[in-house]
């Protein structure tokens, strides 16, 4: 089972996770995960903010996102982890069967 990221800032704990509702909310607001590589300056802050939706939905306006982001170490690793967490809801739905798909339909490419 996936576990949320916990951040402690000024004695307050924040949990970061991407549920399906959080991903849907972000997409509704125009976020596209594929833009992270092309336009990281715009999309990474949106990705970071979106991670607060699942567990702090009713206090989103009160969270000091910029201050928390500035105070965090290992930002590169955090971004990679957030991207992995963002894709987890869709990956869990589209996983291959554990048995290798025995008995399922198969396909081959002929080019």
């Amino acid at each position: 089972m996936s576990k949320p990221i916990t951040i402690t800032y000024e004695d307050k704990k924040y949990e970061l996770e991407f549920t399906r509702a959080a991903v849907e909310n972000m997409e509704r607001n125009g976020f596209d995960i594929e833009e992270v590589r092309k336009h990281p300056v715009i999309t990474i802050p949106a990705l970071f903010r979106g991670a607060f939706f699942a567990h702090q939905r009713f206090n989103l306006d009160k969270i000091p996102y910029n201050e928390i982001w500035s105070a965090l170490p290992n930002k590169g690793e955090l971004i990679a982890k957030l991207i992995e967490m963002y894709t987890e809801p869709i990956a869990a739905l589209t996983d291959e069967p554990e048995d290798g798909g025995k008995g399922n339909a198969n396909w081959t490419a002929e080019w």
Binding site: T19, E34, E88, I90, A92, L93, T94
Partner: protein
């Protein structure tokens, strides 16, 4: 997006049949939602719960289907056995008074422990039956000896 399309494809106005179908994550979530509701997941679990919970629900659904299949197979076995037991009655040329074989008085043993328990009970039954029979025989023989002894005494006293 779940699948990628090249920019040149999109500029062609979408008429090219080789352009892959573009779906947002939201579209996929909404498409899969009814299935997970059908297998017992709640709306809150699906949208707001642990994203990887769907894997457990899929596995549970597979286990449930296998169990249902086994139960139906077992029921078929009981029905088949019942029909076989009643089969003497279906014979057109069956003699008057033909009876069906009795239906099994016990269910099938489904686990090795149940089988072992049943064998133990059977052995105990056989033992108890044998013991009761021996006690009965003993009683008869003892009664015979007692009678003979009584007869002997009477003859001795009489003479």
């Amino acid at each position: 997006m779940v699948s990628e399309a090249s920019e040149s494809d999109s500029k062609r106005g979408g008429e090219d049949c080789s352009t892959p179908f573009k779906k947002s994550y939201r579209d996929v979530f909404n498409e899969c939602f009814p299935f997970y509701l059908a297998i017992g997941m709640t709306s809150e679990q699906y949208w707001d719960g642990d994203p990887s919970l769907v894997r457990a629900y899929r596995k549970a659904d597979e286990i449930r289907k296998n169990r249902m299949n086994e139960q139906m197979w077992l029921q078929g076995m009981y029905i088949y056995e019942a029909l076989c037991d009643a089969s003497p009655l279906y014979h057109d040329l069956a003699k008057r008074g033909t009876k069906a074989r009795p239906y099994s008085d016990k269910p099938y043993c489904l686990t090795p422990e149940q089988k072992e328990k049943r064998e133990e009970n059977h052995e105990k039954e056989v033992y108890d039956k044998g013991k009761a029979h021996m006690m009965q025989m003993m009683g008869i023989i003892n009664a015979r000896f007692a009678k003979q002894a009584e007869k002997g005494d009477n003859n001795g006293n009489g003479s």
